[in-house]
């Protein structure tokens, strides 16, 4: 459907001398195809690994922060389309990674920069994807793709370098795909501790962070505020966490359908029943809602980007937030005695956060830890610290 010869990618590793001269114009690269469940086919250029994958295709509208997107565990089981057309401009700055590795199954862009240019850049996207065996496609009309996803809703798709004579077969394989088991896959395997920032002689609070596929900056944001953060694997029993007697519990973000996590939900109910202050983000927010009897549903095409306005009911203020979620809590399903909406999306009116009645618990659907995206909601970490009895 679309054919485009990209100008080329710098596949050189950063330690090799840069040779910017390119003779590549007009030289075709290995072709790649993005095949959607509805039968649409985009033809482009292969980037990263050349292996074939089937995944759920979602789009992200952030104009910067592609590395943070790639390393956000919430994208596990999905392939991400960047709507901003020029990706890779500032290369890969390893210190900006939100987890140990990239998680998406595939990466879809309009154009990958031929050279990275930033004083911190240590690698190129091309090499980074290759290293982690993640396939991708460039040179396609990402806007046309986004419009399909917007109109028909998130759907499955395949990225492949194989030429199919008939798309019926791959499409039939796609139908059966669903995002599964991703929380377990992305969560840490061992408990570990992150010390409070050096500026603090002693930690002001001790926080237990339940890692459901957490972005690093959640723990970092707390550590920067003087908290010592103990990170627990997602299958840690509530009793173990509570036994460590933390000042507060943080439930992290994470990937997939919240309802899939039946066991974790049961443990979170126990955390709810304790008197420990709890702050939850994204998947954590959804799981807390499910644990207390509310329901979640899948959004047509989700919220993924750095420009979503969220209204704080308490102050009436609107904050621009970083978001990445395909599911949301149904506010109709809330038991008014248990929880009430605390934040709402100004664009579509969906729920963006809850306040738990009579409890030191508040949860948000969006990402106060940013990375990528606006830092405007970082004040929520201060609110959490205050809730734990610290100074805001």
């Amino acid at each position: 459907m679309y054919n485009l010869i990209n100008l080329g990618l710098d596949t050189k590793k950063p330690d090799e001398p840069r040779n910017y001269k390119s003779e590549r114009i007009g030289t075709p690269y290995m072709k790649a195809f993005l095949i959607l469940e509805d039968g649409t086919v985009f033809e482009g250029t292969s980037i990263g690994s050349t292996k074939e994958i089937i995944s759920e295709i979602v789009f992200n509208t952030s104009m910067t922060g592609y590395l943070e997107v790639l390393t956000d565990p919430s994208y596990a089981g999905q392939a991400v389309v960047m709507t901003y057309p020029l990706i890779g401009n500032y290369g890969i700055c390893y210190e900006d990674m939100e987890s140990e590795r990239p998680w998406p199954d595939g990466f879809i862009v309009r154009e990958l920069s031929r050279i990275p240019s930033n004083f911190r850049s240590e690698d190129t996207i091309q090499h980074f994807l290759e290293k982690h065996d993640i396939p991708g496609i460039s040179g396609i009309d990402t806007r046309a793709l986004t419009k399909i996803l917007r109109e028909k809703g998130t759907m499955n798709g395949m990225i492949t370098t194989k030429v199919y004579a008939d798309y019926a077969e791959p499409v039939s394989r796609m139908h059966s795909y669903s995002v599964k088991g991703v929380v377990k896959a992305t969560s840490c395997k061992e408990k570990h501790t992150i010390r409070a920032a050096e500026a603090f002689a002693a930690p002001i609070k001790k926080v237990a962070l339940l890692d459901l596929g957490a972005k690093s900056n959640i723990a970092n944001s707390l550590a920067a505020r003087g908290c010592e953060v103990t990170v627990y694997p997602c299958d840690t029993p509530a009793s173990e966490i509570l036994a460590s007697n933390p000042d507060g519990i943080m439930l992290s973000n994470g990937p997939g359908d919240p309802k899939e996590n039946v066991e974790i939900i049961a443990e979170i109910k126990k955390l709810y029943d304790s008197e420990t202050p709890i702050f939850a983000i994204c998947l954590g927010h959804q799981l807390m809602a499910l644990a207390t009897g509310a329901d979640t549903f899948k959004l047509k095409y989700g919220h993924r980007g750095g420009n979503h306005p969220v209204k704080d009911h308490e102050t009436g203020r609107v904050y621009i937030s970083s978001q990445n979620h395909g599911y949301a809590v149904n506010p109709e399903s809330l038991d008014a005695k248990i929880a009430e909406p605390a934040f709402t999306n100004v664009n579509d009116g969906t729920n963006e956060g809850l306040r738990y009645i009579g409890k030191n618990i508040f949860t948000v659907q969006y990402h106060p830890e940013a990375c990528p995206g606006p830092q405007d909601s970082a004040y929520l970490f201060d609110r959490f610290i205050k809730m734990m009895g610290g100074n805001e």
Binding site: G139, D141, T146, N307
Partner: protein
Amino acid sequence: MPKNPQIKKVLVLGSGPIIIGQAAEFDYAGTQACRSLKEEGIEVVLLNSNPATIMTDKDIADRVYIEPLTLEVVEQLIKKEKPDSVLPTLGGQAGLNLAMELEEAGFLQENNVRLIGTTALTIKKAEDREMFKETMEKIGEPVAPSDIVENVEDGLRIAEEIGYPIVLRPAYTLGGSGGGIAQNPEECREILENGLRLSRVGQVLVERCIAGWKEIEYEVMRDGAGNVITVCNMENIDPVGVHTGDSIVVAPSQTLGDKEYQMLRTSALNIITELGITGGCNVQYALHPTSFEYCVIEVNPRVSRSSALASKATGYPIAKVAAKIALGYTLDEIKNAVTKKTYASFEPMLDYCVVKMPRLPFDKFISAKRSLGTQMKATGEVMSICTNFEGGLMKAIRSLEQHVDCLQSYDFTDLDVDGLRRQLAEVDDRRIWVIAEALRRGMSYDEIHEITKIDHWFIDKLSILVEMEQALAKGPLTPELLKEAKRIEFPDNVISRLTGVPQDEIKAMRKENEITAAYKMVDTCAAEFAAETPYYYSCFDGSNEVEYTHDKKKVLVLGSGPIRIGQGIEFDFCSVHSTWAFSKEGYETIIVNNNPETVSTDFDIADKLYFEPLTPEDVESIVDIEKPDGAVVQFGGQTAIKLTEALMKMGVPILGTAAEDVDAAEDRELFDAILEQCDIPRPAGHTVFTIEEAKVAANELGYPVLVRPSYVLGGQGMQICINDHDVEEFIGIINQIAQDHPILVDKYIVGKEIEVDAVCDGEDILIPGIMEHIERTGVHSGDSISVYPAKSITPTVEAKLVDYTEKLARALHVKGMINIQFIVTGEDVYIIEVNPRSSRTVPYISKVTGIPIVPLATRVICGHTLKELGYKPGLQKKADYIAIKMPVFSFEKIRGADISLGPEMKSTGECLGIAKTFNEALYKAFQGAGLKLPKHKNMIITVRESEHENVVEIARRFQNVGYKIFATRGTAKVLNDNGVKALTVRKLEQESPNILDLILGHEVDLVIDIPQQGAERSHDGFVIRRNAIETGVHVLTSLDTAGALATSLENRAQELTLIDIATVENL
């Protein structure tokens, strides 16, 4: 927070005449804001001295005052109209300064008028150097540290504290002379010693050197509840050191990671919060290229050129939202006008790349230095949108209308590598072309970056364009290569030039391989939500989103491109009014334009907006998609007229005057035939191609002669020649750019210049009025003071003017607008030129006569007759007012530009003086142009010998109003001999104190300098005029203007009468 119910009547301050640094963007912002206020039922009173603006139309505001933007006027206006609020943030720096003056005078409080959109404290915090520094320190935002020193020791100490390298700027020296960058104490001492000596006040500013850092801007908004958002960020390709108005700018930023992007975004939001701005604000940063260190360079607490650019780049209407916020609304209560589904409290996400390029006036000021620095020099700008940066840049280049269409357009092949290195170090408007040449020679990115400090990423993009040039030149042109070339927006003509393949073959190859432009929507949200706004840009690597509909007749309105001297905001006024009129006639309207500053590129003016270059190929791609029933070219100035032939070839009918007739007016031979047929005289003349032919023609006609290229606007390249030498010089300059058309050599006749705009329906002609210029022939009409109604012509001449206009309009089969310029000597009337299109004077004459000329012409084009529309043909009765259009110049901004007036236009804008009497109108016009006299009551007069007899009376009049006159020897002698006391000053080359010392001493109000005609042999006059301008002294180079100024000083009106233009009617 709902609307504040106490706000019912708002005074909106405009920005006045167009000058460099304050251009059409404020008409766009002001118009949008006024409409936004009216939407809310607010009564809008508008004050702006610029008659060429759309905001000064009676359908935009309820009460319209085209009066000088002075404290005196605004106070009187507030007393007369009694608004409850003043909105000052949409009128640029001019509006803001006026608001501050009002506030400081205590006038607002006394009269119970509130400032909305900002407070005086906010303005102070942002504008006052000290308060700004304090405010930034309070919230921990870094500014480049600096201090003022008065001796070398202090300077060295401060420099040590700040850290090297440092910038040293002596206070009050001309154009920053004596300053420099010091890397170490030795250099610092040297520059300081010199700078302290040169500075008149013995002060030098010592500042942290941030030249070469990345320059990044953020456009942010805040409402009364404290909600804050970022509309857009932008990255200047040229690092800190070049004014952002003169930089190539890309949106969003390209080389910033999320960490840097968010760091600066958070900073910008902290700043707007601390300043307490309610509305829009622009924050400029310098970001260290290899660290996270940054400095706040500047904050503009108002809408600005950058905010207009950000609005067009994102689709987010900043001025409209700012106006609503000023009324008390919060961001989450204001609908997103683009999606109509979401709210203003979000941040636009782009899924394309925007490139802005400045339009610099060096083609007008050949003697001016091309170098770019912290003083903005651009008169306008172009913007382009594409899915990739290379394409954006290519589109922007060909939008400039500067005879450039790719990176080969300026030729540096004659420079050797060292020469190239030196040229790279020159920061001027051709830098990207120099980089392209360096890349062709194989210079490394690192070396280019080292010299220019331009980021590697941009250098690589330029390299991609150069590589494509090379690939095309090498060939063969395969469909794959063609597709890639089109993806990065190589126009067919350039591909043809590089490959040698004829354009029509390339076109055929494109058709065959389906390589055609597709159009994408600017929707503020990267396709996340469905949007309804028909605002499009083209790309070659995607599917088309424009839905073809053809429910009603479709008209293509071609805009006028970037604002440059000779083609200003007037043509945008005409394009917009024509669009509205077509819409009322039941047409679907489609605007094509590339100027982000204008009203015409606001997405709700036409039914569809294509933000595209105005070249035949780009227009044809739109035509292919839209299949319009016709195109109108007579309102978009020369830019649109130039497309006539191409449109006809595409099979698009030209609505209004036919293409052959447009040609007949420009083609000398055809035109002469028409004049002969109508029995209308014109100054004798010839068409020539070479210098030799020109000299023969000139000698036959007899000097002085006028020399000019045909098919240009604003008298570009037009000069008066008094001898063969001049002819050689000027034709040489004209022929620097390849000419498709002949050069005209005409006898120069001294006389009164008269200008007429008329509307013709093919049969009847309506002449709204006759305008007379104060300056005699020889000064370009755009630079002349124009008086309506003409005040010194006899009934016989008037009858001739009307007769000639009618004859010409009929002979040229004009349908729509025609503009004619005449020379009158005694009872004789000659034609100078005819333009079968809308002109610079149309907005002005429309407003003062109350006749809606553009809508009228548009309806005539649609097939109505003047009579049918209720107008009586012929010259209309004179209005009750005298209206004087005064040109405004920006000479102080362009170093090295010669300011003397001549046949080539040099003014950037205009203002209006309107009153019941000539004298009051003249006084207002001078006031509006910023002439605030007298101050010191000292003046210098130096005139060429041929004017000696004419200068005496004028000098006497200045003496009578109290002026002490200094004059150069010859002039002084004539004056003293005739009883006007004049002190002789030494000439420039003589020892001090001489004429220059007098000027630099800041004790002179005015210089009257009448230079020799032709190429000036002496450099003195030039130096004197430049120094005067840069010292802020007014300079007049025409005795006629001087006479008018004397009249104005003799008749200083006490109480001005303010006239509401909205009430002027003439039917």
